[in-house]
């Protein structure tokens, strides 16, 4: 189960609206490398994880990603606050607006709605952890790309925080992969799945 903390993990306080930028940043809410996909990926993968450290990491990082979804949503919400219909049209926000007004809907920057096809759950320790390492780097790349478009320090500040979290999570998952590999039997040359394949009893 979960409980809610009535605060953001890191403050989001944006003074100036910018719907064009909001349409790019929403991709970290509902896009292929977004926080929503990250949370769903880790929280789903933990059930087939045989090692205690890894169950902990997937639960805790999956939980933190929910807090990141909330931060991304807060950024988009504040960038689209109190807009006039002229501003919406001039800044190229009318295609998002026509479907969602200024509500927060999980889509990629391209407008493709969120799909579970963005994530993988293979039920294999090495496979899933390798996916998670890649996922953290992909999200870091997206934040780097967002920073290329964002001039406003009010926006850059929380985006830089989120970018740094990808790096920390990559580090933790790397340690998790090492812990998992240390536990494989020395004769397990091909890294058979320790979540499913059991040694034959003789």
């Amino acid at each position: 189960m979960w409980t809610y903390e009535k605060k953001l993990q890191y403050p989001v306080k944006i003074a100036k609206t910018n719907p064009a930028l909001a349409k790019i940043i929403i991709t970290q809410y509902g896009g292929p490398d977004g926080e929503g996909a990250a949370s769903l990926r880790y929280l789903s993968q933990r059930y087939s994880m045989p090692y205690p450290e890894l169950k902990g990491l997937l639960t805790d990082i999956g939980t933190e990603e929910l807090a990141h979804m909330e931060m991304v949503a807060a950024i988009v919400h504040q960038l689209t606050r109190d807009l006039t219909i002229e501003e919406i049209e001039k800044q190229g926000f009318s295609d998002y607006f026509v479907d969602h007004t200024v509500g927060i809907y999980p889509v990629a920057a391209s407008g493709v709605p969120f799909t579970a096809a963005y994530i993988a759950v293979k039920g294999d320790v090495i496979t899933d952890l390798t996916e998670d390492l890649a996922a953290e780097q992909k999200a870091r790349t997206v934040y780097d790309n967002i920073l290329r478009f964002a001039d406003d320090p009010d926006v850059r500040d929380p985006i830089k925080f989120l970018r740094a979290r990808e790096i920390v999570h990559f580090q933790r998952f790397g340690e998790g992969l090492r812990l998992a590999q240390d536990r494989l039997n020395a004769k397990n040359f091909y890294a058979f799945n320790p979540a499913f394949d059991k040694p034959r009893k003789v």
Partner: protein, 87 residues
């Protein structure tokens, strides 16, 4: 920045330090230094949170009492910053 915002920021700083140590301890469960740092941050976080809850209302559902229940649903919610009203 209002007094409320300043206090919330300090709580978030201690809370973040705790969270970072908590994640680190997932992959380093025997690290005594990290454990001690977590304990130190926890004490300060609890003290500041108690101050916040008594002044401004609950931050977590478990902080809710019969006297502050109405503040749980009170604005502003965490995403509702605006330059006119602050947070």
């Amino acid at each position: 920045m209002s007094e409320r915002e300043k206090l919330l920021l300090r709580i978030s700083q201690y809370g973040f330090a705790m969270w970072e140590l908590h994640l680190f301890l997932d992959s380093h469960p025997n690290d005594k230094t990290a454990m001690a740092m977590l304990e130190a941050n926890k004490a300060k976080h609890a003290e500041l949170t108690a101050e916040y809850v008594s002044k401004y209302g609950p931050l977590n559902t478990r902080d809710v009492t019969k006297d502050n229940r109405w503040l749980w649903i009170a604005d502003p919610w965490p995403w509702e910053y605006s330059p006119e009203r602050g947070l």
